[in-house]
């Protein structure tokens, strides 16, 4: 059973500072007439690992997509690193370059090799010389443990490898915050572990992470806070221990019983 061996987690490495990196206040969003997010309030400190869970359609993906403005909110306030998100394109571009995002369907660029996928944004957004950007990309491909796949195209990689390239691509912009939108949901069971291990390494490095996921094992081990969402609202927030062992709201209890009892 060596494969299933739990990854050692050193909680002492994951320190949380006082600095607030994300502030969401009374945020509301509608898709047409449908009220997807209702009065969301959330403050994230530097170094926090937050897992967001909830039934499908509860607005959890929409929430983290609002944080880097892939979705527009209609009411309330979102501040990232002290910069308020509004229609200003320059601010949006600045925030996006500081917030990395990993998608469920990877969204790698299929016409570029793994290395080019990673070095593209440093070259064009950070205006880095190509040589330097390639070195940077190699460094992060080594961190996600696939330097040998650097010259392959996404279509030639397995799902788990693609997702790790996607993580490396986001890391190449040296973001202060990483958003994960169901990063393991499109993967075969055998590949979920390699992606989760990469994310654990990242957490140990002190990265601020917001993770939408159904991997409750990951939430227990890595998160310092679990958020449960339903029908566009934050229903319950707690530390993982209390969240899983002593849920307060009925909806949380029902959800946990459904995902844990099999």
């Amino acid at each position: 059973m060596t494969k299933e061996e739990e990854k050692e987690i050193d909680q002492s490495k994951m320190t949380i500072s006082e600095e607030v990196v994300i502030k969401v206040e009374q945020m509301n969003k509608w898709f047409g007439h449908f009220h997807v997010l209702r009065d969301i309030n959330l403050t994230v400190n530097k170094g926090e690992r937050i897992v967001i869970c909830g039934p499908s359609g509860s607005g959890k993906s929409t929430l983290i997509r609002c944080i880097n403005r892939l979705e527009e909110h209609q009411k309330g306030l979102i501040e990232v690193n002290g910069v308020e998100l509004n229609d200003d394109v320059k601010k949006i571009d600045k925030i996006r370059s500081e917030v990395g995002m990993v998608f469920q369907s990877f969204n790698l660029f299929p016409h570029l090799s793994a290395l080019e996928n990673c070095s593209l944004a440093p070259i064009w957004v950070r205006k880095m010389p190509k040589k330097e950007a390639d070195d940077l990309a190699m460094k992060y491909l080594e961190i996600v443990k696939i330097p040998e796949q650097a010259l392959k195209y996404p279509g030639q990689l397995s799902g788990g490898q693609q997702q790790r390239v996607a993580i490396a691509r986001a890391l190449c912009m040296e973001p202060k915050i990483m958003l994960f939108d169901e990063p393991t949901s499109a993967l075969d069971p055998e590949m979920i572990k390699e992606v989760l291990d990469t994310m654990i390494d990242l957490a140990q490095g002190g990265m601020t992470m917001l993770v939408v996921t159904h991997e409750m094992g990951f939430a227990r081990k890595v998160a310092n806070r679990v958020i449960f969402m339903d029908e566009g609202q934050i229903v319950e927030q707690n530390n993982p221990n209390d969240f899983f062992n002593n849920p307060q709201s009925d909806r949380t209890k029902l959800f946990l019983s459904q995902i844990l009892d099999h």
């Binding site: 200003d88 571009d93 995002m101 969204n107 299929p110 593209l120 944004a121 957004v125 986001a170």
Partner: protein, 461 residues
């Protein structure tokens, strides 16, 4: 009784074995592609079907073979190749028609084409100035060949030069330049370009507010384009000592290539801009692009050409006269841009939303994500459509005949009227020649596009 003996463990790996003969090699290919439909005699109906297939195969072979043979016979075997005694029509007519060939003869009359080759390739371009056209042809074919050649050093720079310097070079050589461009026009161009660049600089530093700052690149592009036009205008007004050749003296392949290449080169960038405009979130850009595309797609090219040569002069003030070729060029350019825009839009729409999101999420701006992520993929997907439009455009250039420009086909038709060569073989030979020339160009484009498709699809799923 139920069989419970399903326990099974595979102990050894079965080695790979070669496929059966009917699947591989020459036999396999012949079998799959030729004989599999006509070899099944297992039942009466299958046998009947096989027999019908055999009969059909032979009937088709007979017809195709017969047609092919007649064409080869006409063009090569029975054809007249030389006219040593300068008999002109006499060399290509039978005894009954007043010539020297046996009665009942039919074949191509190549001496007629050889005699008219200058007309077909250059039109009525003055004979002593032909070196200018030849130089343009030579630069064109060398430049394109080098740019398209895989692995040639600096091919992207050659390509860029072919797109920017070559058109100017060709224009100067072909017309003789020395245009009378007034100083006020030059100053206006220079002033406008400086103004645009100045605005670009202002918006880049965010002096004009946030909304306008999105237009920074647009201002720069306009400014630089106007500046390049200004330089082109300066170069065109210089006297190089070349005699002036009217565009009405151009003809044949020269006109075909000028119209087709201008249309092809201009239609792709214009089409991309229009397609992006039509897909944009900005209502004004979207409306203008949509109206433009629907307008040009809604009228036939012949109407565009007629309007440019008959209608347009009515609206222009007296004394202002646009060159007929230039008017046709602009018409063809805008017309093909509208078609190209729809092809490109098809490619853009086929792009998954995740690609746009992935590009935005790493911080690329709209123009960067379009240029680096979306367009390379979208254009690769629609290469067949793009080349289809190019080939269609190349062949549509023959329509300029109706406004009195003599392209390859028009020139060939005019040579048929030559009474010295009048013979029954005259028209078929001329049309065959034109057909072959068009085929060479169009087939070349088609093959190169297939090569590009194979090359660019590497690494894709």
């Amino acid at each position: 009784m139920r069989n419970n003996n399903y326990k099974f463990v595979q102990k050894e790996v079965i080695a790979q074995q070669p496929p059966p003969l009917s699947q591989a090699g020459v036999t396999g290919w012949l079998w799959k592609n030729l004989f599999s439909s006509m070899s099944n005699f297992s039942s009466i109906s299958a046998a009947l079907q096989s027999i019908i297939m055999i009969i059909l195969t032979f009937v088709l072979l007979y017809f195709c073979g017969g047609q092919l043979y007649s064409l080869i016979d006409f063009a090569l075997i029975s054809a007249v190749w030389s006219d040593p005694e300068v008999l002109k029509r006499g060399s290509c007519t039978t005894v009954d028609q007043g010539g020297s060939l046996p009665s009942g003869w039919s074949g191509a009359c190549w001496p007629f084409i050889f005699a008219k080759k200058k007309l077909l390739i250059y039109g009525r371009y003055p004979a002593e100035e032909l070196w200018r056209v030849n130089l343009v042809y030579l630069t064109l074919f060398l430049g394109i060949g080098y740019t398209l050649f895989e692995g040639a050093k600096g091919r992207q720079w050659t390509g860029l030069a072919m797109l920017t310097i070559f058109p100017l070079f060709a224009l100067i050589l072909l017309t003789g330049a020395n245009f009378n461009i007034s100083w006020s026009t030059n100053l206006l161009l220079l002033g406008l370009s400086i103004l645009f660049i100045f605005f670009g600089e202002l918006t880049r530093r965010n002096f004009l507010g946030n909304i306008i700052s999105e237009l920074t690149s647009l201002f720069y592009i306009c400014g630089v384009t106007l500046f390049l036009i200004f330089i082109a205008a300066l170069l065109l007004s210089i006297d190089y000592g070349l005699s002036y050749v009217e565009t009405s003296d151009w003809g044949g392949l020269l006109v075909t290539l000028v119209v087709a290449i201008t249309g092809i080169v201009a239609s792709l960038p214009l089409g991309i801009i229009l397609a992006l405009g039509r897909r944009s979130n900005m209502p004004i850009a979207r409306t203008i692009s949509t109206i433009f595309i629907e307008f040009w797609r809604g009228i036939p090219l012949i109407t565009v050409l007629f309007a440019s040569s008959v209608l347009l002069p009515l609206f222009l003030p007296d004394g202002v006269d646009f060159n007929k070729l230039l008017r046709a060029l602009i018409g063809v350019m805008l017309f093909s841009a509208a078609y190209m825009a729809e092809v490109v839009r098809g490619g853009l729409q086929a792009m998954p939303r995740g690609q746009f999101e992935g590009a935005s999420a790493v911080g690329l701006s709209y123009f960067q994500s379009m240029r680096l992520i979306i367009l390379p993929q979208a254009l690769t997907h629609v290469i067949p459509g793009i080349v289809n439009t190019f080939i269609g455009l190349f062949k549509d250039t023959t329509l300029v005949l109706i406004i009195g420009l003599f392209d390859l086909l028009g020139q060939a038709q005019s040579t048929i009227a030559d009474a010295y060569w009048s013979s029954p073989a005259q028209a078929p030979t001329a049309y065959l020649t034109v057909g072959i020339m068009f085929f060479v160009f169009c087939f070349g484009m088609s093959r190169y596009s297939m090569f590009m498709e194979r090359k660019l699809s590497r690494g894709h799923k």
